[in-house]
Symmetry: C2
Subunit: 330 residues, 2 copies
Amino acid sequence: MATIKDVAALAGVSPATVSRVLNNRPVSPTKARLVLDAARSLSYTPNRVARTLRRQLSEVVALVIPDIENPFFTSLARGVADTAQEAGYSVVLCNTDGDVAKEAHFLDIALSENMAGVVLAPAGASSDVQPLLNRGRAVVAVDRPVRGADVDSVVIDNVGAGRAATRVLWDAGYRDIACISGPDEIVTAVDRALGWRQLLGEVSPRAIPPGRLLHADFRVGGGRSAMQQLLDLENPPDAVVAGNNLVGVGALQVLHERGLDPARFGIAVIGDLPFSAHAPADVPVVHLPTRSLGTTAGALLIERIEGHEGPGRHVVIPGELGATLTAAPG
Amino acid sequence: MATIKDVAALAGVSPATVSRVLNNRPVSPTKARLVLDAARSLSYTPNRVARTLRRQLSEVVALVIPDIENPFFTSLARGVADTAQEAGYSVVLCNTDGDVAKEAHFLDIALSENMAGVVLAPAGASSDVQPLLNRGRAVVAVDRPVRGADVDSVVIDNVGAGRAATRVLWDAGYRDIACISGPDEIVTAVDRALGWRQLLGEVSPRAIPPGRLLHADFRVGGGRSAMQQLLDLENPPDAVVAGNNLVGVGALQVLHERGLDPARFGIAVIGDLPFSAHAPADVPVVHLPTRSLGTTAGALLIERIEGHEGPGRHVVIPGELGATLTAAPG
DNA sequence: AGCTTCGCAGAAATCGATTTCAGACTCAAG
DNA sequence: CTTGAGTCTGAAATCGATTTCTGCGAAGCT
């Protein structure tokens, strides 16, 4: 493997000059040519480790997310990766499984690998990004804000999404609408449930019957058991808002298994149904622009890396209702 | 940020001693204690960049895949990440979009970042891993073999999977079974189609009618247009084998849109249907153990990194039929 | 006692780049 | 002709760890 010294020797100049040529600092055209030719003929690639050590900053950013198998996050990851790569950075994807300890571990690594920045979808209530900030590293929160630190953030309008999903069911004539949301400590889950409650409070004269809000695990299994629980009630609801895409999948599975038609039993899902074969007219979906979530976060991160100072900026991206419901309550 | 010198100064020893303590080389217990205390009180973390530069080997491995939004690969990624992290390595996920140039770029980076190894799902017909091998880096191919280099590989038994999918339809009574496979240059696609052709040749007295094998893009859109094409034929088939998970999703979407019941029009899918609400009895699926694909590849990679020598090892993992079909031809 | 052997620890070299510093040289103005 | 500013360039310092080299002192052997 050729090093900068080899190139320098072949070109008959000093390593310093080689470095200057390769980094577009002023060098006489004659030597520049020599260096470029030498570099090409040795097919020289600068060693990024050495560069990072000296510069104290690598061209890598970390993307720390709780669940890489959730299409919500893969799509987000795409967005981040695209903007980052455009700006010349590689992206390291770190999967925390929602485990705060794993997350802390990855943040440690980001620090000791001198990574330029971190896009973080926090796993739990508190994430310790202070060490990163102290070292001047860029940090952007995505999907969920970071508590206790003034950090750029990009999130969905979750209350609005909860309202939209609930409204589409209400407008279609459903009157007893339950909500399967996520764990209490995840703010996105709380906000979506809040939107559901808000909207029902506005449109419905009656109080919400007890037991209509369920806190499920935000995965397929969580959606399944919550849906089963709802259907097994003595007085089941006639419609349900699924708090995220995976919960929606689980709920739909249960409906199918019980021979219930999603075109009669109402269901609206917050978040896109991945790879679904359902017609949007049967299962309305609040589309969450995850890709833009990612690109926006990536853009903010790059700006910070390139020197943007100042207080945290907070971007809220609205969801978008894909279709209205044509079916009627069963 | 504390460096090894700070620790050394505080402990009253040389940096060399600190390094020895932290790397479990023999040091007197007295000094070891001093060093550990000093390290803890400064909350010292070794700088991985410096370590990598000196050791000429980082604790990072790259996973290079063509499509991170395909659950096949996310699940595989999980597998690789789990084994790698168990062994103390971080995983960098690189998405090539099936683009050979991007892939080459990532391999370059892996080299110049001194990464310990690469798990590669090759994007195209040829991938140049020679530079990596020359530098003694570990390389393992996954899902598709690397041509022109003697590299460990872990692949699915694609011919077998194609046969299994076809057989389940045949056994259920379907007699005109088409196949939507993937692009010609992807060997997995070719092999799955081969399995389909083989099995039909064995069980069917008649020749396969022309136009029954389609080469689609291996994504949802590809499956959709291929399925539409098949259904628009004058004499459409009565069943279809979907060459991968996404093609299966696309095909199912089209069936739904046209009001065709997958329990009547036969469809078998090679690869798991992600987040599907279908009953397995209606849509048989050849389960591909993608997670083990990943863990196996990861294990081979770690072995290579830790010094395993010798010729390329080739693991073939069989698919597995989830359920037999209870429905009958429509 | 004298000599080897061994374990431990510090000084210094090393990994491969970037960057500071200082010297050599050119050119223009006084 | 001298001085000063400005341009290139190379030597050397630097980033932060690991590892080799070297020396010291204690223990073992004859």
